[in-house]
Amino acid sequence: MSDASERSLSLSKGRSSTSSDRMLPPTSPRGVGNLRGEDRFPVAARRTLADTQLRRNLGKATTTIRAKRAQVVAELPDWEQLREAGRQLKVHTMAHLPDYLAQLESAVIARGGVVHWARDANEANAIVIDLVRAKGVDEVVKVKSMATQEIGLNEALEQEGIAALETDLAELIVQLGHDKPSHILVPAIHRNRAEIREIFLREMADADPALTDEPVALAGAARQHLRRKFLSAKVAISGANFGIAETGTLGVVESEGNGRMCLTMPDTLITIMGIEKLVPRWQDLEVFLQLLPRSSTGERMNPYTSMWTGVTPGDGPQEFHLILLDNGRTAVLADAEGRDALNCIRCSACLNVCPVYERTGGHAYGSVYPGPIGAILSPQLTGIEDNASLPYASSLCGACYDVCPVKINIPEILVHLRAKHTETYAAEHRVPSAEASALAAAAWVMSDRKRWTYALRSGRLGRILGRKRDAIGEVPLPLVKQWTDARDFARPPKQTFRDWWAAEHGGDR
């Protein structure tokens, strides 16, 4: 129960930005990939909140999936024990990463695979481009993969004249709609059936003009559209849900069969896996194969899971490349209080329960990792300065922690990152932040009874501001605006409590 006692003691606690920082692993590079948004969260959120269609779609989808998850989780009497095992497996793995990576590498090589290492997004993209070029093709099929989204692989391939065809239905909807994914699991969660039908009719040359907006018909259209591509594809690119160090086995968990198509039909398979996706031993999958499907789609088991080890003569791709990706993960590992973000198994349960995500949607977060997990993962992968607003994109209600299958204490890491951001800001600016100045002023006022009483009375001035809708919204003053542009205040009462008490009970001030 006492999670605090289970957490490691950090020897680096209080580490300031001194010369030792130069020794620390670098974050993911700028200018490549999809970890950084164009706008700060409050600005982007304001925009998405104004989209009523989006809010309806999201509200409906998250409500449905929350109920499904709760039902299948309740079926397992040992759910909490599974979560704890999952958490400990991840903590153990992160502490022994070099050994497990080396073990995985030799197991894959022993079974006929080729292992590549990529320091960052640019290096991973370059490796893929070289491999695809060597095959002489200009089109590849892709299994939905967060890692490839993160490094902007499709964009990098496109620049080289290689078309990357997304084969997951939701990814296809996003790709055809020239859109961005907004959810880890259901990237097109922001689209409803009518919008999807329009996109298909507009973008699919082979779509039947009589296509209806029934989900069955839409899925059928995607099946028809992709089938010819699958049957003739030469190179496929995938991510991996798990990499088992002991055996060199990789696993992809999916629903539609597009994963199976990509993993078995082409001659060449290229898999990109973050270095944190390791699982020590085969039997350990018994934990994650119970935790993941129930947490993500709310199913007892997802329709298809494929597992392969290197190359198998006569079955599936005869050439297999595994790319092990860092791209800022080792920088996360260097923060004792933040590194549990690496334990994430990408189930997206935290998105579905988050009151902020449910209203703003995924695009507001700017990164491919949205929602609560994105708010702690993205700023750590990029460095806090590039995603400084994300740790504040939360009410700290803790629902994300409750549903996390590997018990990542997301609220605690959010608070840690807020502190880190404040410290970074203070170290870099000689003028204190608005918040720091306000708190210093408050300390002066509150340290004297007279000053405090006057200050409280002056709060009544706020009544002027809140006249229109009985609440105070954005206040267009320097300093104050920063605080109020994302927060509403109740309009202050006519009388302070102290004045009321004095009036009711007489004199003693």
Binding site: R7, L11, S20, L24, P25, N57, K60, I65, P77, D78, Q81, L89, H92, A95, P98, L101, H116, W117, A118, R119, E123, L169, A170, I173, V186, A188, R193, I196, P215, A219, R227, F230, T247, G248, E256, G257, R260, M265, I275, W282, L285, E286, Q290, P293, E299, R300, M301, P303, Y304, T305, M307, T309, T312, G314, D315, G316, T330, A331, L333, R339
Partner: protein, 226 residues
């Protein structure tokens, strides 16, 4: 430094800046269930319940009636041409009236993709079935075939013997060899990408039918635990 050395050096630097907790593998908490004493009849009922929930078709028969049950299923489906993997018990398909193609594991005896695309269905066995999750696991051994075999045809008929049914995921993994190509199948292919409505049948077989074979007549009441 090459990329491999550098990534490993970065991990070492991260670990020295923030030493990780000492949690040996053997001490990882494993308080969850890994055994079950449910009788095979209970597990069979649970498996059927889960399969039906995924909208798979289910038939039950005794070992003596397997060929007849397969013939009936194939005929009800209206399938004329089916493909089977090498190693499949030939008596299973003895009752079929249509043509039966065989697909080998070695490249010389394999059907082309377009052949697989034109057959009406595929019949296979499996390695193990998980009752709690309604999952069939194929490991490409004889009678199960290479992975594409159960992917391209639109109808998959899978035979499960009672002694292949286990209670839950942990018991299933113990029975499997990780390095074989493995496919776990829980119902027909599906998507929930459109407004989170489950739609069966995207790229894999749109119909999954399962025949659960109980031991031959007379031994039906033997209780076994997994």
């Amino acid at each position: 430094m090459n990329a491999r050395e550098e990534v490993l050096a970065r991990i070492a630097a991260a670990h020295s800046a923030a030493p990780p907790p000492d949690l040996p593998y053997e001490e990882i908490s494993r308080e969850y269930r890994t055994t079950s004493d449910s009788a095979i009849e209970t597990l069979t009922e649970l498996l059927i319940d889960r399969l039906v929930d995924y909208r798979a078709l289910v038939r039950q028969c005794s070992a003596d009636d397997l060929d007849g049950t397969i013939a009936e299923a194939v005929s009800d489906r209206g399938a004329h041409t089916v493909v089977v993997p090498t190693g499949l018990d030939s008596s299973w398909t003895a009752g079929l009236s249509g043509s039966v193609l065989t697909d080998g594991l070695s490249a010389d005896y394999q059907r082309t993709i377009s052949e697989l695309d034109s057959v009406d269905g595929v019949i296979t066995g499996c390695a193990v079935a998980i009752a709690e999750t309604g999952t069939l696991i194929l490991d490409s051994s004889p009678g199960q075939g290479r992975r594409v075999l159960t992917l391209i045809p639109d109808y998959h008929l899978c035979v499960v013997f009672a002694d292949q049914i286990v209670a839950d995921v942990p018991q299933a993994l113990v029975r499997l060899e990780a390095t074989r190509p493995l496919t776990m199948i829980s119902g027909p292919s599906a998507t929930s990408d459109i407004e989170l409505n489950r739609v069966e049948g995207v790229h894999g077989p749109r119909t999954l039918e399962v025949i659960i074979v109980s031991p031959s007549t007379g031994s039906g009441h033997i209780q076994r635990s997994s």
